[in-house]
């Protein structure tokens, strides 16, 4: 009788463990996605960013394109800090 009872308890424990484990990866994709980001953006907001970088932050754009330009022409291929030290 005693053995019978303990067998049940063991089985119960096994079931509990299985229950804990079922759906071991359930909802993992959602958990690992930052709720502050979206996957399908509205292009109008993306255009705002582009426009902003072009017009308002003109200097940054110039700097970025300057850097890009020099890299594409292979004048500088390593650290952008080298450009700074050349300029100052």
């Amino acid at each position: 009788m005693k053995n019978y009872k303990s067998g049940f308890s063991l089985l119960g424990a096994g079931v509990a463990i299985l229950l804990l484990c079922t759906g071991c990866t359930k909802d993992f994709g959602n958990i690992n996605t930052n709720p502050s980001n979206v996957t399908t953006p509205d292009p109008k907001f993306l255009m705002t960013y582009t426009e902003d970088k072009l017009s308002v932050n003109g200097t940054e754009w110039v700097w970025e394109s300057f850097e890009q330009l020099f890299r594409f022409t292979q004048h500088f291929t390593s650290s952008p800090y080298e450009i700074i030290s050349v300029l100052t």
Partner: protein
């Protein structure tokens, strides 16, 4: 799961909680320093409750936090890292109460770590808390501690020459009242054209240079227009600090019967730091109850609540120009040696008559003292964090049969933090200022079910083991609101009081779920052979793509064996015990949450066309290698545990080798590709080492005993490989233009610089550069990367001695770190500004300066030096007559002898040697080896007779001195080695430092 040490196939070191509590440290890691072989501890410069770095057996990943986890009664906590910039409020661990620790065990090997899963990849510090002990009636124990912290030594400054700027040249704002023929003349005061009197150079909009006159008590006009004596203030740095101290009270009540037990403890800690206005108040409550519900079911419930209020830790890093409200920067970069701290820290000196703090650039401001804003900020502003930590646990143990039991456990550990910063406006009429308020949450949940089995098959053979599953959830969120553009009503701190629209931020910082299954089987044969096999599998959300796919499962098989061979062989009498142990384990790891799943983020607003519109772009500039794999760590260990002479001498030795492969790394991509980096799996980082612990009881008589423990550890870190085609990886820890790298064939922690000097063909002499506008030669920068140091120590050791004479106990603990480089950014600033003694040679004829009359201006100078080095090829120097001479290939000395070059003015050299545009990093990467007298403690346990009269059950008194002094320190000028900028494991350097500080702790313990 308690196991006898005899059975273990891996290395564990245990320390009694009471030993740690005696130290009265706020950060429990500090209390462990020097006591455990293989554990490397370096204190930071964060002040009263700042962070401390702890590494077990070396850096095992290329990440920033290679620190072990802390497990307190099954609740897992991290030693989170402080960035190194700003104010260090410490982390969750400061909320623990060491008075409740029964034991602290350090599990070093990975076989031990396989029990705790992915977060234990860097080891485990296991804390077991106290529970009620069975006794008659109620037990009450009271502990009252008084502590004093004394800042006893700052770095050694030069105290001969005071404030005054280096000679003029085009980038300087030199004071206009130096005369035009004084362009290269230093050691003179500027003269007020109206009064005709000399005044101390205010160095407005400059650093605080010390190229002024020798301080001989001359009568001069001070920064605020008053008349003063020009004298050195040798202790001006130490005067910026105070003696700290506080009280720590702990009351514990416990009781137990054969069926139940309870223990309640309350702790109140109130302390102030050595840094002015740095203080803490901590209230913590702990309750643990155990009860035997039936003969078969036991329940163990505990809950701990801490309320912590921390205020104004010192500011570190270089967030702004010059002083940055950082004391270390202040006294090496902006405040000269004649600066009288005690005078300028007075309210009427740091506050301006115009309201706010004196702005020396304002013509209406009569007080031109430098960096008054530091004191204004220190005394008016408040940076506070209020933390509440709640840790609760329930564990149910049920005996299923005589050989099996079921354990069900659940726990939560939640931390809620309120951050409040108040800054009074520093500009005239108190304009400016700010107020911010933020809330962070950190919540964790843990569930576990496990069946434990222990079956004695026959007299010789016992089989035990467990199977279980668990689930862990973590989530951190934040939100903050900050005023912008100043406060409308000065000194009124509320969010709506903002000049411009407030800045509001918030979101989920990270969240992670881990599900695990595990099993273990132990076989014990004749109590001599022990074999344990464990298996664990973790599913991690952090390796899962948004669509649910991903290689998010990893397993940890581990095998450990031990053999008590002294049972098998007939050993000589003096050989009491011998055990051989060995283990091999595999561990897995994931990556930071969200890093696999980028998306589109909204990043503020644009008003490009006069309309405010939200703006959005992709949240990440990196691409992912498809199918990121989990990290893999393989660790091997073999150890020997020997005891001799009736166990009076013991020796414990471990050899280990760990390799971590498949690490998830961001490898920088060429800018031409349009992305900044690629996230890939790569690398093989290896740690190999030896740990030795010797313990002995050389003397033991009725009245006197001496026990001693010596531990030694050495770890060699090797980067076996990185990504194909890459031989170096930037670890992202930069101080003073020195960055930390992992380099193939070398180690995690190679310090690299682009601004070291370049060796010339003359041994020991660098290539020189000449600057005509400074009439100075100084070493030329390489402008290419050079390996200039390695942060890894050669070895660490600790020596713990306890002497007992009758009721007295004396404990002396020494610990040492030998080898390992350290970036001393203040040495750079202090060389640049002339506050350190290395800038004395050549200042005047008395200090070895060459007296010469310059052909350029006909003036005689006495501060000439012959610069060590060789002029670069093609270097030409314009002579006084206008001709040019090519000095390429000549040493400075040769060129000087030939008359091509005049001696360089020492101030010009010193200034250039440390400046941001021409300084060379040769001297600010220094070896940091030290031996510290970590602790001397005397305790006295009163005789039973004495305390019985007071109706007490126990009474003891102890006096402990902590961090008393450095017996050996290789940092120059007695810099404090406990100045680590961050507990980010890639950092070894200082960016703001505190004086060496000793703590004296007096405690009285009484049991009723």
């Amino acid at each position: 799961m308690t196991k006898q040490k005899r059975q273990l196939g891996y290395s564990v070191t245990s320390i009694k909680g009471s030993e740690l509590a005696k130290t009265n440290e706020v950060n429990p890691i500090n209390a462990l320093q020097g006591r455990v072989a293989g554990v490397q501890i370096d204190q930071g410069a964060g002040g009263l409750f700042g962070n401390t770095k702890i590494i077990i057996r070396g850096n095992s990943t290329l990440g920033k936090n290679n620190q072990p986890i802390f497990v307190i009664d099954g609740v897992i906590m991290d030693n989170d890292i402080f960035s190194g910039e700003g104010r260090d409020f410490g982390n969750d661990l400061k909320n623990l109460n060491m008075e409740n620790f029964e034991t602290v065990s350090v599990l070093k090997g990975s076989a031990a770590a396989a029990l705790y899963g992915t977060r234990a990849i860097n080891g485990v510090v296991l804390i077991t808390s106290k529970k009620g002990t069975q006794r008659k009636g109620l037990g009450v124990s009271l502990n009252q501690t008084l502590s004093l912290s004394n800042p006893y030594k700052g770095p050694d400054f030069q105290n001969e020459f005071g404030g005054g700027s280096v000679g003029a040249f085009f980038t300087d704002n030199r004071d206009a009242n130096y005369t035009s023929d004084q362009n290269w003349t230093t050691k003179v005061f500027p003269i007020d054209p109206v009064t005709g009197k000399p005044y101390i150079d205010r160095q407005i909009q400059r650093e605080g240079e010390n190229w002024g006159p020798r301080m001989l008590g001359q009568e001069v006009t001070n920064y605020d227009g008053t008349v003063t004596r020009y004298i050195p203030h040798p202790n001006n740095y130490l005067n910026a600090y105070q003696n700290g101290g506080g009280t720590n009270t702990n009351v514990a009540i416990d009781a137990a019967t054969d069926r139940s037990s309870f223990r309640f403890s309350y702790n109140y800690n109130d302390a102030k730091g050595i840094y002015l206005n740095n203080s803490l108040k901590k209230n913590s409550f702990d309750l643990r109850v155990t009860h035997k519900i039936t003969d078969r079911i036991n329940i163990d419930i505990s809950t701990a609540y801490t309320d912590f209020k921390g205020k104004n830790p010192p500011r570190l890093g270089g967030l702004d120009a010059f002083g940055s409200y950082n004391v270390g920067h202040m006294y090496t970069w902006v405040l000269p040696r004649n600066y009288d701290t005690k005078y300028w820290m007075q309210p009427d000196k740091y506050a301006s008559v115009l309201g706010g703090t004196p702005d020396p650039t304002n013509n209406a401001e009569p007080n031109k003292s430098p960096e008054s804003r530091f004191w204004f900020n220190l005394y008016n502003d408040n940076y506070t964090q209020n933390e509440q930590m709640l840790r609760s646990r329930i564990a149910l143990t049920a005996d299923i049969t005589s050989w099996a039991k079921l354990v069900l456990e659940g726990n939560i550990n939640n931390l809620y933090r309120k951050i409040e910063n108040k800054e009074l406006g520093e500009k005239a009429n108190f304009t400016g200022g700010s107020y911010s308020m933020g809330f962070n949450t950190k919540e964790s949940k843990f569930l576990k079910a496990m069946v434990m089995m222990n079956k004695e098959v026959n007299k010789d053979l016992t089989i035990s083991g467990y199977v279980g599953a668990e689930s862990q959830d973590y989530k951190t969120t934040y939100s903050s609101s900050t005023t912008s553009g100043g406060l409308n009503y000065p000194g009124n701190f509320f969010i709506a009081n903002s000049v411009n629209p407030q800045i509001v931020e918030g979101g989920t910082l990270n969240r992670r779920k881990l599900n695990s299954v595990y099993a273990s089987a132990d076989i014990a044969y004749k109590n001599q052979f022990f074999l344990q096999g464990t298996f664990r599998g973790d599913w991690s959300s952090a390796l899962t793509y948004t669509n649910g796919s991903g290689n998010n499962f990893y397993k940890y098989p581990a095998l450990s064996a031990s053999w008590v061979f002294s049972e098998n062989f007939k050993l000589p009498d003096w050989f009491s015990f011998g055990k051989l142990r060995s283990n091999i384990a595999a561990l897995g790891g994931d990556t930071d949450p969200f890093s696999l799943n980028a998306g589109f983020a909204l990043n503020g607003f644009s008003s490009a066309n006069g309309v405010t519109v939200p703006s959005s772009t992709y949240s990440s500039s990196r691409v992912l290698q498809p199918n990121i794999q989990p990290v893999r760590k393989i660790s091997k260990e073999i150890g020997l545990d020997l005891r001799f002479l009736k166990s009076r001498i013991g020796l414990d030795v471990s050899f280990y080798q760990d390799n971590t492969k498949n690490q998830i790394l961001d490898i920088t991509a060429p800018v031409e590709s349009g992305v900044s980096s690629i996230l890939i799996n790569a690398g093989n980082i290896q740690n190999k080492g030896i740990e030795i612990a010797i313990d002995a009881t050389p003397l033991s008589t009725k009245n006197f005993s001496w026990t001693t423990t010596l531990n030694y550890s050495r770890n060699r870190n090797l980067i076996v490989s990185l990504y194909p085609g890459r031989s170096e990886y930037n670890l992202g820890a930069d101080i003073a233009e020195i960055s930390t790298w992992a380099v193939v064939g070398k180690s995690y922690g190679i310090l690299r610089s682009q601004i070291n000097s370049i060796p010339s063909f003359v041994p020991g002499q660098p290539i020189l550069r000449w600057r005509g506008d400074a009439r100075a030669a100084f070493p030329q920068r390489s402008n290419y990367w050079q390996d200039v140091g390695d942060i890894n120590a050669k070895f660490r050791t600790g020596w713990d001695n306890t002497f007992r004479y009758k009721n007295f106990t004396l404990n002396i603990l020494l610990d040492a770190k030998i080898g390992g480089d350290f970036v001393l950014s203040s040495y750079r600033f202090g060389t640049h500004t002339g506050v350190f003694p290395n800038t004395l040679f050549g200042r005047d004829a008395a200090h070895g300066g060459i007296t010469f009359t310059s052909k350029y201006d006909g003036i005689t100078y006495d501060d000439g030096i012959i610069v060590k080095g060789v002029f670069d090829k093609g270097q030409s120097i314009t002579q006084a007559d206008g001709t040019s001479v090519d000095v390429g290939g000549l040493t400075f000395e040769e060129a000087y002898k030939k008359g091509f070059v005049e001696p360089t003015h020492l101030p010009q050299f010193g200034y250039r040697y440390g400046s941001s545009s021409t300084g060379v990093s040769d001297y600010w990467v220094v070896k940091s080896s030290w031996i510290s007298l970590r602790q001397v403690a005397v305790s006295y346990a009163f005789n039973e007779k004495a305390f019985k009269k007071l109706r007490l059950k126990g009474l003891s008194l102890s006096l402990a001195g902590r961090d008393l002094l450095y017996l050996y320190n290789t940092l120059p000028y007695n810099f404090n080695p406990a100045s680590n900028n961050s507990n980010n494991t890639a950092y070894s350097g200082e960016n703001g430092f505190l004086p060496m500080t000793r703590n004296i702790v007096l405690s009285l313990r009484a049991n009723f």
